[in-house]
Amino acid sequence: MTLWLRKNWIPVALLAAGLVLPNLVEHYGNFILASILVYSLVSLSLTILIGFAGQISIGHAGFWALGAYGSALVVTELGAPFLVGVLVGGIVAALFGAVVALPALRVQGHYLAIATLGFALFVQQVLFEWESLTGGRQGLFVPRPEIFGYELTDDYAYVYLMLVIVVLLTWMTENFRRSHTGRALMALKMSTVAAEVAGINRARHIIIAFMLSAFYTGISGALYAHLIGFLSTETFTFTTSLSFLTMAVIGGLGSYVGALLGAIYLTMAPEVFREFKDAQMVVYGLTLILCMQFLPGGLASLPERLRSLRRRRT
């Protein structure tokens, strides 16, 4: 038991923090916590896509939007329960994920990035123009989350619900990583020819990676929609996609702690950088460049990096 605890103290500590923190902060604090949890799902989704599969996307705002609008519309128009809406949001995004995976079968790197960017712009534009469904420039009001007939009127309860979802999806990510599909993806990333010759179907696995990543981001978008209570297509711009990517890089790809740190960064940075007003994007960009230059493993690699620096000094 103590050995297990020594090996797993980080997730245990994080979970404990997640359970205690909502009680220590005021209403706005819980909104911040909820935002962190929403973003951590996007972070997790990029861990799957970039960290495991070695693919890139600068269009994840598109999946986020699909999840947000998908859930909001299923709940408002069809009267579906909130949790069904969230699941539908994830599934809609996953279906589009399969479509976005198609260019990834042919092109990589910059070209794939541009294809994903095109997808996100397309989604945003269609949602904006489709006024009868999405309200267009008027926006769309989204009801508060509701579970088994109880409305979660404040973010305090919603944070706990999100916590359950985030823990569940993190566990599923880890299962995916250690299962054959996850291992096959990482083999493809390290040597595509060797993996293919060993019997791994590249197309199938890349499509799965995109679908799973899109599913997570769709779930995140759905949770976000019911947190904010109002959707406008201005939320789902290219800047949003880029900030997602920034979050993943700054947190550190390929570790769950990194995914969480990235989400904390993306949530807290506007609070801190607000001082810079119009220069905010410049500060974001600079942070990203500095991170890639001096901390390529992201914040998650900071302890290891400091240790190696100290070793070099002595």
């Binding site: 054959h180 390290m190 293919e196 060993a198 019997g199 791994i200 179907n201």
Partner: protein, 256 residues
Amino acid sequence: MALLAIENLSISFAGLKALSGVSFTVNTGEIVGLIGPNGAGKTTLLNCISRLYTPQSGRILLNDVNLLDVPVHGIAAHGIARTFQNLELFGGASVLENVAVSSMRRFRSNLLAELFWLPAARRDVHAAREAALQTLKALGLDHLADQRTSDLPYGTQKMVELARALAGQPKLLLLDEPAAGLNPDESRRLGETIRALRDQGITVILIEHDMSLVMTICERIVVLDHGEKIHEGTPETVRRDPAVISAYLGAEAGDA
């Protein structure tokens, strides 16, 4: 009985003929050497058989299945495995993980079972690891199972690649210069290993520049030069063939 039949295979890259009209057969349980000077088309031929390349004309029959209808990721299921001239290992992964990638094919449950870590998914991962470990034991590499592949010496990495190919349980094993970079002792032991594999019923096509290895273990040898088959025969006939000697030693030897 012919396991593999190469029929009139031709492929060119940007107008340059890499293979032209190459035909030969490989019988079950044979070790066939594929030799020739650099650029003769040996690796290209292996890449055609393993479906990394698609030839412009010709056929490749494996037990009467036309391999040209099989995608790259399908050849393992048809019983073909290979190694690579320049190692293609999963460098960051452990030796066991590298080898297990080949055994994964035989243990696949569905994605939902994997996401929820259901018993089926756990059994698959365990079974693939066990199968990989058995392969490593058979090659005497099991003590390295947990080592990072990229940390190992070159010769050992080549053996890991052989283990990975064998974990796919092939009928036909394609080896692309397995002895390159090995010292004479390692090379001799590799020869013994290949023979032992043949005795277990695995058919082998071997590309190799180490002539002593080729001459001692191959029953038959196919010689390529400039994309054409210039000779096919036993080690004795190859050694005496003037065309082979001239291809290897250049024009002066041919003139002499």
